[in-house]
Amino acid sequence: MKSIYMDHSATTPVDREVFEAMVPYYTDIYGNSSSVHSQGQKAYRALEESREKVAALLGAKPNEIIFTSGGTEADNQAIITYLAKNPKKGNHIITSAIEHHAVLHTCEFLAQQGFELTVLPVNSYGEVEPDTLRDAIRPNTALVSIMHANNEIGTIEPIKELAAIAHEAGAVFHTDAVQTVGKIPVNVTELGVDLLSASAHKLYGPKGVGCLYVSKGVRIGSFMHGGGHERNLRAGTVNVPGVVGFAQAAEMAMQRLSSREAPLAGLAKRLTDGIFAAIPNTRLTGHPEKRLPGSVSVCFDYVEGESILLMLDNHGIMASSGSACASGSLDPSHVLLAIGLPHEAAHGSLRLTMGKDNTEEDVDYILKVLPPIIKNLRVMSPLGQ
């Protein structure tokens, strides 16, 4: 049976070369990068070289990168410790309704602790409109956190403009760039962000490692306590093999990013057009153009997402859905509701996120398999007849 993986926004396979780069750091160069002896020194050198590579991908300086256990930790650290370390900057935070839970729930946690929280609405494409930020920002706004691109609907946010608005008002700007780093050009200076989170496993690197970019002069603190690693900003023995893998993945992404983008966008177009041609009562979610390359997200009326996923999986196709039934929590995706979809429409959500190894053949295979699946499920549905 075919096996077609189209859930790259969830995670990606580790690239062979990345894996091979990591292996020696488990078995041969196993030192703790904080140790004085030569094993430690070798690990330390690998760590610092990796920092340079990851910094290069982001257009940052190496000393502005802190390695973390992933995007979620980076988001938590950025938001929580910035506020803890800068109490005079105010107690108001702003985020958007379509953030990843790593940001949204962190902000909600802070609101329970007494911070004032504004959650900005988005338009029907899932964009945070600069004017909504302009209207919401106040003299006591300390931090604004808006994601670079949305993981479910693929929309890319106008970060540059949003960051400028935050700065005018004296607030720092954090962006969760987990979905964009390695997929589209991400340059911290061009974007004008102060804090940025990234994760290795979205760009063919290993799970369990990510980073936080902290612009020089922005004060954050340690999130966990217990060691002087990462310039006292991230306690815990550094995951050197993971970091080396992250760096290798970053280096490869940097070299190949520009040649990958257009083909992925082409595949996404082929798939989207094909779906719309073959399946009536379908809606596109997210922005039609300003979206992640390779991301296709749609809702089919009258059917439910988990059913679609299992039928697709039966044909070897792996995808995801924002449907309530497909989420462990039985809540439909907050992103789909935020863009104004009614509950029933969010129910029929399907997300296909393609990666570097997907081909036109894969797309055509899906276009063969998907329409009858939707048709069968619609026959079974009491709605829309």
């Binding site: 988990e306 059913s307 039928m311 309530a324 039985l330 439909p332 509950h343 009491p382 709605l383």
Partner: protein
């Protein structure tokens, strides 16, 4: 989360999908937990469920439980069918993942609604009107509530 083989079988090859020409009873319920809808039609003859069809808007568990409930009660007397509970259905499917137990509520509820509508004279609309959620917010909501269908 993983479904039993029986669930997957009934999901992939659902029995008794569709509608009936002249149903003697129609039941329709919606689930407030996740927003799915189940619709069951029956033909009753000599107090027995002679034929039964369903249509479901929902997850694999919802489809499988609908399919299973139709299979269980086809040919049974109304009295027997009225005794079917959500548990009977879940057990017949070799269990459901805990997060999906609420889906099994729908199947039995829709069946009971269909029988009720038959006993009340079979007017298909009769069973769709009542919203138990309003009358008994706590218990009824967890059992699945009836809703008005977008026509």
């Amino acid at each position: 989360m993983q479904y039993s083989q029986k669930v997957m079988d009934h999901f992939m090859n659902p029995r008794n999908v569709g509608t009936l020409e002249n149903p003697s009873g129609v039941g329709e319920v919606g689930n407030p937990t996740c927003g799915d809808i189940m619709h069951i039609e029956i033909v009753v003859k000599d107090d027995r469920i002679e034929d039964i069809k369903f249509r479901t808007f929902g997850c694999a568990a919802a489809i499988a439980t609908s399919s299973m409930v139709t299979e269980i009660v086809k040919g049974k007397t109304l009295e027997e069918a009225e005794k079917i509970t959500n548990r009977t259905v879940a057990e017949a499917l070799d269990g459901l993942p805990p997060v999906k137990m609420h889906c099994s509520n729908l199947a039995a509820d829709a069946l009971h609604e269909a029988i009720k509508s038959y006993r009340q004279g079979g007017a298909p609309e009769a069973s769709i009107e009542k919203g138990c959620c309003q009358s008994e917010p706590d218990s009824a909501c967890q059992q699945g509530m009836e809703i008005n269908l977008p026509k």
